[in-house]
């Protein structure tokens, strides 16, 4: 096992455990949110490991730095301190959901992922993950979806104003 593999395994272990933390270990919403922050932060490093600097730092900035702060803000504002989920009864669907999810994941792993384990890396150039390269493509070939995204964000703004303004 090489150093890179070891580093990835550590990152992946933290990532997967924190993902589990969001669902299982997080007794209340704040804990879940913190686990999710950890997960997103680690994911940023996984992106670095894949050679995508720009996306990794954007991941940390957008998810860990902006989206999760909003989540925490809303959670605290709504005082989810004494979360009802802490005393959630173990209903029937809980183990069933886990079983179903695990079965699905394992079958996918078996049929889809495992055949790829020996695939070598393709000759992707040095341009991979460079901000300039991504910018060039984003603003030329992908300019139409880029504009669509601007409509999407406009909808986000107008929609949240519609949902939050005081005049009813």
């Amino acid at each position: 096992m090489t150093g890179n593999q070891l580093a990835f395994l550590v990152l992946a272990a933290i990532g997967c455990l924190s993902a589990l933390g969001v669902v299982v270990f997080g007794q209340n919403a704040v804990r879940s949110a913190l686990f999710l922050v950890l997960n997103f932060f680690v994911l940023g490093f996984v992106y670095f490991a894949l050679g995508a600097q720009l996306l990794g730092i954007t991941q940390i900035m957008v998810y860990a730095g902006a989206i999760m702060v909003l989540f925490l803000f809303v959670i605290m504002m709504l005082q989810l301190r004494q979360d009802s989920s802490a005393k959630e009864p173990t209903d029937f669907k809980r183990p069933f959901a886990w079983l179903f999810g695990a079965a699905l994941a394992l079958s996918v792993m078996n049929y889809v992922v495992m055949p790829l384990s020996m695939t070598a890396e393709s000759p992707v150039g040095d341009e991979f993950g460079r901000p300039q390269a991504i910018g060039n493509v984003l603003f030329s070939l992908y300019s139409w979806p880029f504009e669509v995204t601007s409509v999407l964000l406009l909808i986000g703004i107008v929609g949240s104003i519609l949902l939050a303004k005081r005049r009813i």
Binding site: L54, I57, M61, V69, M76
Partner: protein
């Protein structure tokens, strides 16, 4: 052996110190060179803040600690006191903080409570990771050269300035979590205010930095430093093109400066710890060293934000915005002097940079002494209605400037800049005139008194309640 060559060998991995490979050693050295000055200077900064503040407020401030009284039996200077302007006060403070009783309030969220100061400290130090504190190019050489390129920045990555934004956006967690875990409604309020404030000002800060990125064409902070060595406005070769001297850069610098103060939770934006409303806000329940850690984080953040301001807008480690190399080439009679100045400018760079940081912190202190704290709605208004539109329109204008400069040369670029800027200003003023009434009454008493309906905002329930 030549030290620069040896360091180059370390960087290339051809040299090693015992069993430690060169690159790793160099990485450790780089980090230490960034972190140690901050750790050393923070006590000094505290002293400086207290002295300067008291001077500005016509007080004396701490001046006793470290006073040496000569005993009466001494051969000379009997009974005299030798004062060190209270320079030892920070050490006394540190000792006090260490020895103080460490109070842990009851019913707190223990894990988060203890981890919060660490979370606050981490981004404050990590933010300097891409900060160059020395000139990356030796004088009279082309491209990246010289000793400092091996020592600074810690990581010269493509995404330098984005890294700063990303890490600074993590700074809010320490505050929010401290507020949440303390089981104190004032702390919680402080945390909430802080998160709202940081989200609001991050946008404007991003816009301000993005316009500089657009003008530079790169997100590397060293590229920004190199860009600032070019001729001013594109046609005055004797003066360096510090971004604060360019029209759009000045605007960006102002926006960045204000956002920087907001991001570090300093006065007049220190609402998260407004003592007359929230006791001490998020760190009300923290005592002893845990409190000191918050304090240290705040000072480190101030220090490094000042450093970023210096690197992005104030020409990095250059002493004066003067292009010594150009002068040396064009004024043969004084060429020796200008050459000397160029080399002095290069080698004294780190000190100059520290000086600029100190200047930035002095500015912070000055602001604290001068301006009253903003009200919360004023803070939000400033962020969303002034800073953000200004930053965004600046970004648009810089975009026009870049394109026009490419198409029609320097003159066309500046003409386009003026045209678009004036159009935007007229537009903005029109909108402002349209919404002035509303803006004035937005948080003012008028509406508050006329509005009989109770706001259905969520009120905070006493956390002590089971």
């Amino acid at each position: 052996m030549n030290i620069p060559q040896w360091i180059e060998g370390l960087a290339n991995g051809t040299e090693a110190v015992g069993p430690i490979p060169g690159p790793i050693l160099l990485a450790v050295v780089k980090v230490l060179l960034l972190v140690l000055p901050i750790l050393i200077l923070v006590p000094g900064l505290i002293w400086w803040e207290r002295r300067l503040l008291s001077w500005m407020q016509d007080r004396i401030g701490p001046n006793r600690t470290g006073t040496i009284t000569i005993p009466d039996k001494a051969p000379f200077l009997r009974g005299k006191k030798i004062r060190f302007f209270g320079l030892l006060q920070p050490i006394a403070d540190g000792v006090k903080l260490f020895l103080k009783e460490d109070i842990t309030p009851a019913d707190i969220d223990r894990k988060i409570y203890f981890i919060a100061p660490a979370i606050a400290l981490f981004p404050a130090f990590a933010i300097g990771g891409t900060l160059p504190w020395g000139a990356i190019r030796a004088p009279f050489e082309q491209g990246v050269s010289g000793l400092y390129r091996f020592l600074t920045p810690v990581a010269n990555v493509d995404i330098g300035i984005l890294y700063v934004l990303a890490i600074s956006s993590l700074g809010v967690y320490g505050v929010v979590l401290a507020g949440y875990s303390s089981n104190n409604k004032y702390s919680l309020m402080g945390g909430l205010r802080s998160s709202a404030q940081l989200i609001s000002y991050e946008l404007a800060m991003g816009a301000a930095l993005a316009s500089i990125v657009l003008a530079t064409g790169s997100m590397r902070m060293t590229d920004m430093a190199l860009e600032q060595e070019k001729p001013l406005w594109g046609f005055i070769p004797a003066v360096q093109n510090w971004f604060i001297l360019t029209p759009f850069g000045l605007l960006s610098a102002l926006i960045f400066l204000i956002c920087m103060v907001a991001e570090t939770n300093r006065a007049p934006f220190d609402l998260p710890e407004a003592e007359n409303e929230l006791i001490a806000g998020y760190h009300t329940e923290y005592s002893s060293m845990k409190f000191a850690v918050f304090f240290m984080g705040e000072y480190a953040a101030m220090f490094l934000f000042s450093g970023i301001f210096a690197a992005v807008f104030l020409g990095g480690s250059s002493l004066l915005p003067v292009n010594w190399e150009h002068l040396a080439a064009s004024v043969p009679s004084a060429s020796g002097f200008f050459r000397g100045m160029a080399w002095f400018n290069y080698w004294a760079g780190p000190l100059v940079f520290l000086g600029k940081c100190a200047g930035g912190i002095t500015f912070f202190i000055w602001l604290r002494a001068t301006l009253p704290r903003l009200r919360y709605d004023q803070l939000m208004n400033l962020g969303w209605r002034s800073m953000l539109p200004l930053g965004l329109s600046n970004l648009i204008v810089v975009g026009f400037w870049v394109v026009a400069t490419k198409l029609w040369g320097i003159g066309g670029g500046w003409a386009t800049w003026g045209l678009v800027m004036s159009i935007l200003v007229v537009f903005y003023l029109n909108i402002l005139a349209g919404t002035r009434k509303e803006a004035l009454s937005f948080g003012g008493r008028k509406v508050a008194m006329k509005d009989p309906a109770p706001r259905r905002a969520v009120t905070l329930v006493d956390p002590n309640k089971p």
